[in-house]
């Protein structure tokens, strides 16, 4: 699996081509669904690095997503700093936060880690919800500025947003693949199997766990900055809530944790399903869309516990 085969290259290229051409052919709502899918695909890929490879099931990714969204927006609104710089600044800040919280949590495993990550994200949310300087509970309304790539603002069309987030996802995938095939990736897997064994093999468990969390936080934060520039309004209740963290875990799990492309597939199933079912059924107020969503999550965990990507990949391989 270390080398990309020619066949995989062809399939990958075809998917990429579809993703480039598709947004040109569909109405704005479809483009919105593509953008949202890619945002969550990116977060899923980022989650996968710490959850799928290093075995730390984080239910607190919303904190990093939110810090990314807030950092760039705050810098833009108060110091007129370009969101592109804010993107990097947010990533660095998120990584530092991740390290600061990851270090004391370095002994936590399994469900303890999961709950600790929820606790961390909730504290961050409550803190932002009361922090006057960043708008507290009222949130930040990012002003609509001149349309340009340098401003990270596009008013007349969603296409540039589509391609920017597509580039982000490709970047995240590259990072993920690099990590998974490098020495670091093997260390992560060793840690996931057993802290003790990894320790005996000479892996610095605490340090490598921190690396995983920091990389993951950086990528998630990038997605957060993108969200802020795209939606142009953020408040703690919409970018830092548990629902976002859970959505990210679901995307990764349903697609297939522990595989590079799994989260992308997971997002491609989950997000369009929830968006289109809401658009088609939501107006009735019966909640059918959410009922279907719940059933789907349950069914996939039961019948495809390793994610649908495993099954898909199997099909591709068999049909040589």
């Amino acid at each position: 699996m270390r080398n990309i085969t020619g066949k995989q290259l062809i399939v990958g290229g075809a998917v990429l081509a579809v993703l480039i051409i598709l947004p040109l052919l569909i109405p704005p709502f479809g483009q919105h669904v593509v953008i949202l899918t890619l945002i969550f695909a990116m977060c899923g890929v980022a989650w996968n690095i710490m959850g799928g490879y290093a075995g730390m099931f984080s239910f607190g990714q919303a904190a990093f997503f939110g810090i990314g969204a807030y950092t760039s927006s705050f810098l833009l609104m108060t110091f007129n700093v370009s969101p592109w710089i804010g993107l990097v600044a947010g990533g660095i800040l998120s990584s530092l936060m991740a390290a600061a919280i990851g270090y004391p949590c370095s002994k936590l495993r399994g469900h303890y880690f999961a709950i600790a990550s929820i606790a961390f994200a909730e504290i961050v949310r409550i803190f932002f919800n009361n922090w006057e300087m960043v708008g507290a509970a009222e949130g930040l309304t990012i002003p609509m500025r001149q349309e340009s790539l340098a401003n990270f603002t596009f008013n007349s069309s969603k296409l540039p947003y589509c391609y920017i987030i597509l580039a982000f996802v490709l970047f995240a995938l590259a990072v993920c693949r690099l990590v998974s095939t490098s020495k670091m990736g093997y260390y992560f897997r060793a840690i996931k199997e057993s802290h003790e064994v990894a320790q005996v093999l000479g892996v610095n468990v605490v340090r490598y766990r921190l690396y995983a969390i920091m990389i993951s936080a950086f990528l998630t934060s990038m997605a957060g900055t993108f969200y802020a520039q795209y939606i142009l309004y953020i408040d703690p209740a919409s970018v830092m809530v548990l629902a976002i963290s859970v959505q990210i875990v679901l995307v990764a799990m349903l697609g297939g944790a522990n595989t590079v492309l799994g989260p992308v597939v997971g997002a491609a199933i989950l997000i369009p399903l929830s968006e289109y079912s809401r658009a088609w059924l939501g107006y009735k107020g019966t909640g059918f869309d959410m009922i279907i969503y719940g059933v789907l999550i349950t069914a996939i965990s039961m019948y495809r516990p390793n994610g649908v990507w495993g099954a898909l990949a199997g099909v591709v391989r068999r049909e040589k």
């Binding site: 709950i115 019966t286 349950t298 039961m302 516990p305 390793n306």
Partner: protein
């Protein structure tokens, strides 16, 4: 000072309800290593059962406790048999996620069949307040706490003094060894899931006496319950009981002394500090 004492009392009262909720959750976790994210929705169903019994048949919520317990026991067994048991052998992540699906389904299905409206049981046989040297005790809250203590005590006794209870504890301690000793672990799993759910059913009836009821009420209690279970140490009944009270008091008194806006944050911070010092929780 008087108000502070009042906060302390209120904290203990709500804390005891948390305890009962957390014991159900921790039992399930301890025995089968499953974190039930649908716990809050089970509570919601329990509350609705009490509500309908009250509205349609005039049954006081307190008398609906046995029926709630049985109904939720069956629901728990059902969900274990047809959903949870299917993922028990799968990867841990699937076990974590499956109950999310169940929780989303239950809340929205309840909204569909019972409408998303808010409901409240106005008058139960116990209402009003007692005054004890300046401290005001809300009678329904006191009844709920007493009910919670009695139920927790019963669970305690059951686990320590009955064959089935001991078998549950044995599985919790060491599943393989229990299997070798001839314990039917599959049966124990579904029993524990049933009992854990039944406890939530009881809590639902108790809360229904003084709490609003609507399909998404589970979310109000869900998150705090996880924190309590983890604080007490996953699988530890005593731990969950004590942690419930601690969380209730910290949230109420902390909110009063500092700022209510941060009261939930204080609880989570306390949890993080605790697991930093003791990664296995208080009694884990």
């Amino acid at each position: 000072m008087q108000i502070l004492a009042q906060q302390l009392v209120d904290g203990v009262l709500i804390g005891l309800v948390y305890s009962l909720l957390a014991i159900g959750l921790t039992l399930i976790w301890g025995v089968m290593n499953v974190l039930n994210f649908a716990h809050g929705e089970f509570l919601m169903i329990g509350m609705f059962l009490s509500y309908w019994l009250y509205t349609l048949a005039g049954v006081d919520p307190l008398f609906s406790i046995p029926l709630n317990a049985v109904a939720l026991f069956l629901l728990g067994m059902f969900i274990y048999r047809f959903i949870i048991s299917k993922v028990m052998t799968g990867p841990p992540l699937a076990q974590l996620v499956v109950t999310f699906g169940v929780s989303i389904f239950l809340a929205n299905f309840a909204a569909f069949i019972w409408t998303p409206n808010y409901r409240f049981i106005g008058h139960t046989i116990f209402s009003g307040t007692w005054h004890l040297s300046g401290i005001i005790l809300s009678v329904p809250k006191v009844i709920s706490s007493v009910g919670s203590i009695l139920t927790s005590g019963a669970v305690f006794w059951f686990l320590r003094h009955t064959r089935t209870g001991k078998a549950i504890l044995a599985v919790e301690m060491d599943r393989e060894a229990a299997l070798i000793m001839g314990i039917n672990t599959e049966r124990i799993n579904s029993l524990s899931f049933g009992i854990g759910s039944a406890l939530v059913g009881v809590a639902g009836a108790l809360l229904a006496t003084h709490y609003y009821i609507y399909p998404f009420v589970g979310g109000t209690f869900g998150l705090i319950c996880f924190c309590i279970v983890a604080l007490g140490g996953f699988g530890s009944i005593e731990g969950a009981f004590i942690a419930g009270i601690i969380v209730g008091v910290v949230q109420t008194v902390g909110g009063y002394l500092f700022d209510p806006a941060y009261k939930v944050a204080i609880v989570f911070l306390m949890y993080l500090i605790t697991v930093w010092i003791r990664p296995q929780g208080l009694r884990g």
